[in-house]
């Protein structure tokens, strides 16, 4: 097995006693960062990913919209080919604003789904498939994967000593918190997180339908909040359905037939008969942004740094922007022989990401407030507002490019450039 031999030889000295960087959390952001660093810096740069759930069977029923910029990142770090088969391009997008029982939902905004000829602005991918591909690539590139949790850490001159739950102690130069919205590393680093709870939940499930969706994404602004139909491969769509929290809990707990009825009321019959094709679960929605994205020898990425409203499908993409910015700051410093956990690197990362995150948080929060309201005045306002956007091509183009994540001073990986 020639292939296996190559893989073996690229593996780091198994469980080496020190790391250049230790990433706590093996989700999408943590694994993507680990792969990007190994690809750019090679075997001499030791990357550890510690996550107690690494060897568990993937159990995430959600799908994610991968914006063009994030897709370029996956291409550049060599995982896109692997996931491409299961990725459904979003070819166009329709947004409607309606009351639940309106016979016709007035369409006031349509988007062609391409940022450049032949380049869709987003793809839908099921999270499980993405994680599986990232894990495979992480093994191939010699990331030191540990089924273990970060228990504690202490900074010391020149580094940070990380203790794992198993008792192992690993000195590193930088610790990355990629351990999700309730990040234990963030808390241990003493970084507060500000935000609020929307008292809404997003019901997530998968639906099979009779007719083809032709790559069309739909977002219906119903009074309780947005109801999104996002195309998956085959005649299937991922549903993200916002309701008040108690109502969401009630709906998820309904017997299958009643859940089906509630869903069909909102989904409509334009794609023919529908069938529930996956588990259903309600995720509480909130907005929170860490007070700082850095502490001494610690950097936060992904949900550990920020959780925003999923209204514009930007949560994962924001996390991947963190990955691209931190990877570039670390790689540049490493190639200059600088301390990769020093203040210069951390300050550069924070400057790069925090403003962008605040802006996105405010924008998605505003959208949600504007659209989660029955007021006719607000409805008139948003209809005319979006109607104006629809009629001005350059403005619409800007929104599409913003949704695709390619405006601003983007890090190289988001532009498809190798580090």
């Amino acid at each position: 097995m020639e292939y296996n031999k190559v893989v073996m030889s690229k593996k780091p000295q198994s469980h080496a006693d020190r790391a250049d960087i230790l990433i706590g959390g093996g989700g999408l952001a943590g694994l993507a960062l680990a792969i990007a660093l190994r690809e750019a810096l090679g075997d001499a740069f030791h990357v550890v990913v510690a996550d107690p759930a690494l060897d568990r069977a993937p159990g995430d029923a959600r799908a994610s919209a991968i914006a063009a910029a994030a897709r370029r990142l996956f291409e550049t770090i060599g995982v896109w080919d692997e996931v491409a088969a299961g990725a459904q391009p979003i070819l166009d997008m329709v947004v409607t604003d309606s009351k639940l029982d309106d016979a016709m939902r007035p369409t006031f905004l349509t988007f062609d789904g391409e940022i450049a000829p032949g380049e869709p602005f987003a793809h839908m991918i099921e999270n499980n498939a993405l994680i599986a591909s990232l894990l495979k690539k992480a093994r191939e590139t010699g990331v030191d994967l540990r089924t273990d949790a970060v228990a504690d850490f202490d900074t010391q001159p020149g580094g940070i000593v990380v203790r794992l739950a198993s008792g192992a102690t690993i000195p590193a130069r930088l610790l990355v918190a990629a351990d999700g919205a309730r990040s234990a590393i963030r808390e241990r680093a003493g970084i507060a997180s500000h935000g609020w709870d929307y008292q809404q939940s997003g019901i997530v499930t998968t639906v099979a339908h009779e007719r083809a969706h032709h790559g069309r994404a739909e977002e219906h602004f119903l009074p309780a909040g947005p109801f999104a139909i996002l195309p998956l491969t085959g005649n299937r769509s991922s549903i993200v359905w916002t309701e008040q929290r108690t109502e969401a809990d009630r709906i998820v707990a309904l017997p299958d037939s009643e859940f089906h009825t509630e869903l069909e009321r909102r989904f409509g019959l334009h794609l023919g008969d529908i069938a529930i094709a996956g588990p259903r679960r309600a995720y509480p929605l909130g907005l929170s942004v860490a007070r700082s994205f850095i502490a001494e020898r610690v950097a936060l990425i992904g949900d550990a740094a920020h959780v925003i409203h999923p209204i514009a499908g930007q949560g994962l993409n924001m996390g991947l922007r963190d990955v691209a910015a931190l990877a570039e700051a670390v790689v540049d410093a490493a190639r200059l022989g600088l301390d990769i956990g020093g203040a210069t690197v951390l300050d550069r990362y924070q400057r790069w990401r925090r403003f962008d995150t605040m802006a996105m948080g405010v924008a998605t929060d505003g959208l949600n407030r504007l659209f989660s309201n029955q007021s006719d005045v607000l409805r008139l306002l948003r209809d005319t507002g979006l109607g104006i956007v629809d009629r001005i091509p350059t403005l619409k183009d800007f929104f599409i490019r913003e949704a695709a994540g390619i405006t601003g001073a983007a890090p190289k990986l988001l532009k498809g450039e190798a580090l």
Binding site: A40, G42, F45, G158, R335, L336, G337, G342, A343
Partner: protein, 250 residues
């Protein structure tokens, strides 16, 4: 009390005392030397790229300076020496201030990086017949007593086919306004008294000294500060900060 100096030394004791006072603050990236830390990436990048191009190495490889014997004259607290050693260089960091050498040695120990730090001068090393593939005089020539003599002694230590790279401040009205008034008094980027404008060196003077030392200038580059990016970058503007690379023919 000034230490006894060998005759023909180019060391200025008042300058040494000024830098020795910094102590452990050398390595505080947000402290009094923050501006030097911000300046460090651009000069490191310049050195790395000049050296790897000259010796046919890949600048993206982590060990791109492996095996090269490098002298960092006026190494201070080791801000330049330590990164060059991490890139694989066999680095000798020399500084006349024992206090600086102590700071640099202590820090390299903590960081786990091998650097050969010595409390000595360029003249003493030249007298010992030391030779190097790369000799660095970064932000040094504006601090010595006799610049042409200093450069001559440096030139003696460059191996045939090797490089000398120097960075310094030009003596122009613009550098007086920016480097002295702006950096030390208005913005407080640098401790007051860090620089004396009358000791600044024009590119013409430095190149002439290098030529007399048997070196040929192969690259010259300005460095400017971008207000909006809050970062230093290479430029064609050599009115204030600039760097020269010179080679000794093989």
């Amino acid at each position: 009390m000034p230490r006894a100096q060998a005759p023909a030394s180019t060391v200025d004791q008042a300058e040494i005392d000024q830098f020795s006072r910094l102590g452990a603050q050398w390595w505080d990236e947000r402290g009094p030397m923050a501006m030097l830390h911000k300046f460090n990436p651009v000069r490191l990048g310049y050195i790395r790229d000049q050296v790897t191009a000259h010796f046919g190495r890949d600048p993206k490889k982590l060990g791109c300076l492996t095996g090269l014997r490098i002298l960092d004259i006026g190494c201070g607290g080791g801000i330049l020496s330590e990164p060059l050693a991490r890139l694989g260089g066999k680095v000798i960091g020399a500084d006349p201030s024992q206090a600086n050498i102590d700071v640099a040695t202590h820090h390299a120990g903590q960081a786990g990086v091998m650097v050969d730090y010595r409390a000595t001068t360029a003249e003493a090393l030249a007298d010992q017949g030391e030779c190097f593939d790369v000799l660095l005089a970064m932000e040094v020539v504006e601090h010595v007593v006799d610049m042409p003599l200093f450069v001559k002694r440096c030139g003696e230590m460059v191996n045939p086919g090797g490089l000398m790279i120097a960075a310094t401040l030009n003596r122009t009205m613009k550098s007086f306004a920016l480097a002295i008034i702006g950096a030390e008094y208005v913005l407080r980027w640098l401790p007051r008294g860090t620089h004396r404008w009358d000791k600044f060196v024009t590119p013409g003077e430095l190149e002439a000294a290098m030529v007399r030392a048997g070196l040929r200038v192969v690259d010259e580059r300005g460095v400017v500060y971008g207000v909006f990016s809050d970062a230093w970058q290479l430029s064609n503007d050599m009115d204030v900060n600039y760097m020269l690379t010179a080679e000794k023919s093989a």
